[in-house]
């Protein structure tokens, strides 16, 4: 791989998803992340009830992420061939789990802020 710079990665990501969709996803991910940090700072507290629901959603996020990646690439879990494959597989699952948990926690916090 030649010139694996930040600019190259951005250019490749734009080509994978299309420029519009890629930046829309970046903006959405940014909004959710910023909203998550916002509610944490605003509430000055973790709501363990909301966190519980976020945790409950994690396996669904993990399964959905793995299912999506396997589906779009015509592959299955039996194709894992080495340690790096296992790392990528687990990373996809963790990303899906954490992403959905953050989304679920943030939506709950925005819809029902703690009573002052």
């Amino acid at each position: 791989m030649q010139d694996l710079t930040f600019g190259t990665i951005l250019a490749v990501m734009e080509e994978i998803f299309g420029r519009g969709l890629f930046w829309l996803m970046v903006v959405l991910a940014g909004i959710v992340s910023v909203a998550y940090i916002y509610v944490l700072i605003r509430d000055r507290n973790i709501s363990w009830r909301k966190f519980l629901w976020a945790q409950v959603s994690m396996p669904f996020g993990a399964i959905a992420a793995v299912w999506f990646v396997m589906g779009v690439t015509d592959s299955s879990a039996s194709d894992l061939g080495g340690p790096v494959d296992l790392i990528v597989f687990i990373s996809v699952a963790v990303a899906g789990a954490v992403g959905l948990a953050v989304l679920v926690y943030t939506i709950q916090s925005l819809l029902s802020p703690p009573k002052k």
């Binding site: 600019g7 490749v12 734009e14 592959s75 194709d79 061939g81 494959d85």
Partner: protein, 438 residues
């Protein structure tokens, strides 16, 4: 202000910090080098991977150059995708786009065939008689598939009589799958060939054999199928360490290797192929035959006096320095891509490394400086070994393996991540290369 108010994180604060973060992120983009001023006339023959990518980079790096690109083909082909089309994994449309989709503003496209190059007078003539003067010439027309080089074969046969040939283009790659898919159902004798000439992506015929083996196996019909890979030499691949790995995988999959077997003729009626071997001609019956014809430089190159006179004389590749790709007799001509007369590099991955070298050679001459970029023969082949796994094989002129991710992605291991890269990242990287961004 009450104590609780002091601790409250106001909406205005929040927006301010967010804006600061966004501003900080924008400074990551590096400053672009100033374009060199010139009024040079640059002609590029061919709007394939090399020509298009070079045009985009030249437009970025030169200010005032008159850049003309000559290519009659309205369709641009993403050729690395043809293997996937020929295995039924992608539709024919996966590999096609418009030539004009990728060309930058400020480049003049002449949609004609280049008919002659006069390197002494520095002129290129087109099919309709246009005469183009140039100061710098990039020769990147690709190669021609010599279908007539196999007796009895023509592209009309592809998809019928158990004959496939994925190199012939997207339509023919789809027809190849029609013939191959019948074989995966009925079994029989499957023979996968390659020519004795230099060829683009020497891994593709091997990938096709692995994929059809896998699909036949998944269909539960592998027991009815006998698969043979006919290598043109005593080796399965040009890089010894890779050849040995493929030999082991062939053993594992039950794929027979027939060494020094070069397809000479085919009789579609009787489904019989004739091979030139060290022991003379050998006939083999087949139920599926994958044909890859001999490959040569286009006539415009062979008839212009730009080819090597003592190497590849039957193929006509451009005589150029293997590190700079500059013509050895004309210092204002460069070869780029399949047509270059260098020992390795007829792949899109090589083009990605060659383009900056050729562009740097031209810009260096314009700026009166030494050339900085050199091509080391880098070639990459995501060697698909089954649906879902591939080996990310990268090597150079010295047959050294040159892994991009040493210690992370092992080049000679069948890995899912290498398949993911082929499926997800390769075409976007290719497209980014066309735009001069990768």
């Amino acid at each position: 202000m009450s104590k609780s108010k002091q601790h409250e994180f106001s909406r205005r604060d929040f927006l301010r910090y967010t804006a600061t973060g966004a501003a900080a992120a924008t400074v990551i983009t590096p400053a672009k080098a100033a374009a060199a001023k010139t009024n040079a006339k640059i002609v590029i023959i061919g709007a394939g991977a090399g020509g298009t990518s070079a045009a985009n980079r030249l437009v970025d790096q030169l200010d005032g150059a008159q850049i003309t690109i000559i290519d009659p083909r309205p369709e641009h082909l993403y050729q690395p995708g043809l293997s996937l089309v020929a295995a039924g994994l992608k539709p024919a449309s996966y590999v096609t786009s418009k030539t004009t989709d990728w060309l930058p503003d400020g480049v003049n496209l002449i949609a004609e065939k280049a008919m002659a190059i006069d390197p002494e007078a520095r002129k290129v003539s087109t099919q309709q008689g246009k005469q183009l003067d140039y100061d710098f010439l990039i020769v990147a027309p690709g190669l021609v598939l010599d279908h007539d080089g196999i007796e009895g074969f023509s592209t009309d046969l592809i998809g019928k009589h158990g004959i496939g040939s994925l190199y012939a283009g997207p339509k023919y790659a789809a027809r190849t799958w029609e013939a191959a898919s019948k074989f995966t159902e009925t079994g029989g004798e499957g023979i996968f060939t390659r020519p004795a000439t230099e060829m683009k992506c020497a891994g593709a015929p091997i990938k096709h054999a692995f994929l059809i083996d896998d699909i036949t196996r998944r269909a539960g019909n592998r027991g009815k199928a006998n698969i043979t890979y006919a290598a043109h030499s005593k080796s399965l691949f040009g890089v010894p360490i890779v050849a040995e790995k493929i030999r082991m995988l062939f053993d594992d999959r039950g794929i027979n290797a027939a060494y020094s077997h070069v397809l000479k003729s085919v009789d579609p009626g009787t489904k019989r192929a004739v091979f030139q071997t060290p022991d003379g001609l050998q006939e083999r019956d087949y139920d599926y035959l994958h044909v890859i014809p001999p490959q040569r430089a286009p006539a415009v190159v062979r008839e212009s006096g730009l080819s090597w006179s003592d190497k590849w004389v039957d193929q006509g590749w451009v005589e150029c320095d293997k590190y700079t790709l500059q013509h050895l007799r004309y210092d204002n001509i460069w070869a780029l891509g399949d047509v270059a007369g260098v020992p390795k590099g007829k792949t899109a991955a090589s083009v990605k490394w060659q383009v900056p070298v050729v562009v740097d050679g031209i810009v260096a001459q314009i700026e009166g400086r030494e050339q900085r970029e050199l091509f080391n023969g880098y070639t990459s082949c995501p060697m698909i070994t089954k649906i879902g796994r591939a080996m990310l094989i990268e090597f150079d002129y010295k047959n050294n393996l040159t892994p991009s991710f040493p210690g992370i992605i092992a080049p000679l291991e069948e890995l899912w991540i290498s398949w993911l890269m082929k499926e997800v990242a390769l075409k976007p990287t290719y497209n980014a290369m066309l735009r001069g961004l990768a």
